[in-house]
């Protein structure tokens, strides 16, 4: 659980985690995809559900389910690596020429640190993102939503072990999702 009795340790941990998240965003925006893949643990789970309009009191049906339904993404490192390899073929027309991207990561909150904030081997966090994409000439997409990540320290380095992305859209307004959240 979040360690409320050690605020200084939590502050330092948050600083550390935020630096990692910004570094990650830079890699994606700088198109250093292979280095980005290295930030993912081998058993990473990457899930982006679709989102339904549901009646009051039925919010448990709002998101498509991980591991059961069709989702925008519901995969591990193998498929994520295939996505990177596809961009790097040079003939992935949806990303050729490459889009211009900016990932803005904000509202970072650590929700869990184990075994402790002072000596965290694993951290769960929640944040918001804005992804701005501009491609070819005037084509622009803005995708906004919430992200829930679980980071794990491997050989002293943070690795992403789980990413859950909750997009604030029903009908996806972008023609494709050729980038990473």
């Amino acid at each position: 659980m979040v360690v409320a009795n050690d605020p200084l340790a939590l502050l330092l941990l948050k600083q550390d985690v935020e630096a990692f998240l910004y570094h990650e965003a830079n890699l994606l925006d700088d198109r250093r995809y292979e280095e980005w893949l290295d930030l993912l643990s081998d058993d990473v789970r990457y899930w982006v559900p679709m989102r339904r309009n549901v009646k009051f009191g039925e919010l448990e049906r709002e998101f498509t389910r991980e591991g059961q339904d069709i989702n925008w993404f519901d995969e591990g490192k193998t498929t994520l690596t295939q996505r990177v390899r596809q961009i790097l073929t040079g003939v992935h027309w949806a990303e050729e020429p490459l889009s211009r991207l900016s990932h803005l990561v904000t509202n970072v909150e650590i929700t869990e640190a184990t075994p402790s904030a002072a000596d965290a081997g694993e951290v769960s966090l929640r944040c918001r993102f804005i992804i701005y994409r501009n491609r070819v000439a005037t084509e622009t997409d803005i995708l906004v939503g919430r992200r829930e990540d679980r980071l794990r320290r491997v050989d002293g380095q943070w690795r992403i072990a789980q990413r859950q992305v909750f997009l604030d859209q029903n009908v996806l307004l972008a023609k494709n999702l050729t980038f990473f959240f």
Binding site: R61, T64, W72
Partner: protein, 458 residues
């Protein structure tokens, strides 16, 4: 300069004899408005799957052309399709995507409709309407024709449209492959939860003609073929079954439907596929054996992508799915994609397919992403005053199709173009636009059911 299109204009826009189609039909907003009247209020349209409304009160909000409709199962278990618009002042009576409900209540003035469409709740019925409003006349607008064919729910707004099976004609062979179980058992499919919905900046006919049989656009998918996401780890599909097969493009130009397929040799036997996973491989192998036994010669058909005129496209083999290209203005298409699996397949098979479907299809699918880039910019580059003066070329393979195709005792309906050596052809697209032209020009279904006059049901 505003151009007004008369029914007679359309023969000039789709030049059947020379295999050319004007760009106007993709980009012109007057033509687009005419399409809504002449095509989308008259053709049979795909609405959803019965497995989405399996229990009384279940509903799924769908779309027919531009219009929102409600697919629902009433308390007595009967399936209906209604216009999603309150009869009093037009408000959408359902703004949820799916769920279960006893009534649909309009949030504007409170009129409320039962799941069979009947108007059941009228606020101030006694005081303001003096009980004089005839509620029986003001139920939700119901589609005049609806059919549940092997689980697929189809509807048309035209009471005079032919029966669905007459509309489908000889294409039924291919539609059956989509909705039947993999082993050939009748209608054995269901939807996996989660319908993909996304916007593509292109006219709705771009994807419709792509799916009807554009073998030529393989180069679009070069990147995914290089990466290899197929069920056996290579390419984007599993092609082991195509050994020695003929490649055929099948068109039903009098109806506008078309598909591509591979025809296995007469002496072909089921071969193992999806060999990355033994359970999945065994499942499909056994299904193929069962289907061969059940269907005999027809088993030789390895069906490929197809389009049922006007805007329902599908992939009957993997990734088994249905796409509907909802028109949203001349320059926008809202794509909806349903994914199908054998209802009786083991969980391992369903899970294997679910993962493949996700990585192949839709806006995040490694294959489909590149299609949408092409449709987007092909459309954009055809809009200009200069660009639209130049027709698109659909001449590939003109004059090479036959109407009496036969191979090893198997006769095929429709117009068949053998593309085994040619590798690609455009007769299916020509058939699609030829039918489009008829829809735009004909006054009614008497004029559209041309096959009745020819005495041929091909």
């Amino acid at each position: 300069m505003a151009i007004t299109f008369q029914p007679s204009s359309y023969s000039g826009l789709v030049d059947r004899d020379n295999g050319m189609v004007s760009r106007e039909i993709f980009v012109n907003s007057d033509i687009y408005a005419e399409e809504q009247e002449r095509i989308f209020t008259r053709a049979w349209l795909f609405v959803g799957h019965e497995s989405q409304v399996s229990k009384p009160g279940d509903f799924f909000v769908s779309s027919m052309g531009e219009e929102s409709v409600i697919l629902c199962r009433d308390r007595q278990g009967e399936i209906h399709v209604f216009l999603n618009s309150c009869m009093h002042r037009g408000m959408k009576v359902c703004r949820y995507d799916e769920g279960n409900t006893p009534i649909f209540t309009c949030p504007y003035h409170g009129w409320s409709f039962a799941t069979d469409g009947a108007l059941v709740g009228v606020p101030f019925y006694k005081d303001a309407y003096h009980e004089e409003l005839d509620k029986s006349q003001w139920g939700l607008i119901r589609v005049p024709r609806m059919v549940n064919y092997k689980g697929g729910i189809w509807a048309t707004w035209d009471a005079n449209a032919p029966d669905f099976l007459e509309y489908i004609g000889g294409f039924r062979t291919y539609l059956d492959i989509l909705f039947d179980g993999w082993d050939g058992s009748e209608g054995g499919t269901e939807i996996i939860g989660g319908i993909e919905k996304w916007m593509v900046p292109s006219n709705w006919k771009f994807p419709a003609e792509n799916f009807i049989g554009d073998r030529y656009h393989n180069i679009s998918h070069r990147s995914v073929d290089l990466v290899g996401i197929g069920p056996s780890g290579q390419g984007r599909r599993d092609n082991s079954e195509r050994e020695g097969a003929k490649s055929l493009d099948v068109s039903f130009p009098e109806r506008g439907h078309g598909t591509v397929m591979f025809l296995r040799p007469e002496d072909a036997q089921p071969v193992p596929s999806y060999q990355n996973d033994p359970i999945v491989s065994e499942y499909f192998y056994q299904c193929e054996i069962a289907r061969k036994e059940r269907q005999g010669q027809l088993w030789r058909i390895l069906a490929g992508p197809g389009t049922i005129f006007p805007n329902m496209s599908y992939l009957p083999r993997q990734p088994r799915s249905i796409a509907v290209w909802h028109p949203r203005g001349p320059d926008q298409t809202e794509v909806w994609r349903w994914f199908l699996v054998d209802a009786s397949a083991p969980p391992e098979v369903k899970e294997f397919l679910r993962q493949y479907y996700i990585r192949y299809s839709g806006p995040a699918g490694l294959t489909e992403q590149d299609d949408m880039e092409n449709w987007n910019y092909a459309h954009a580059a055809s809009r200009g005053a200069m660009a639209r003066r130049y027709d698109y070329n659909y001449q590939m393979g003109m004059g090479y199709a036959v109407t009496d195709f036969e191979d090893g005792g198997l006769k095929l309906d429709g117009t068949v173009l053998d593309t085994t050596k040619a590798r690609a052809g455009e007769q299916n697209q020509r058939g699609f636009y030829s039918r489009w032209r008829e829809f735009m020009a004909a006054r009614d279904w008497d004029g559209l059911a041309t096959w009745r006059n020819n005495g041929s049901a091909c």
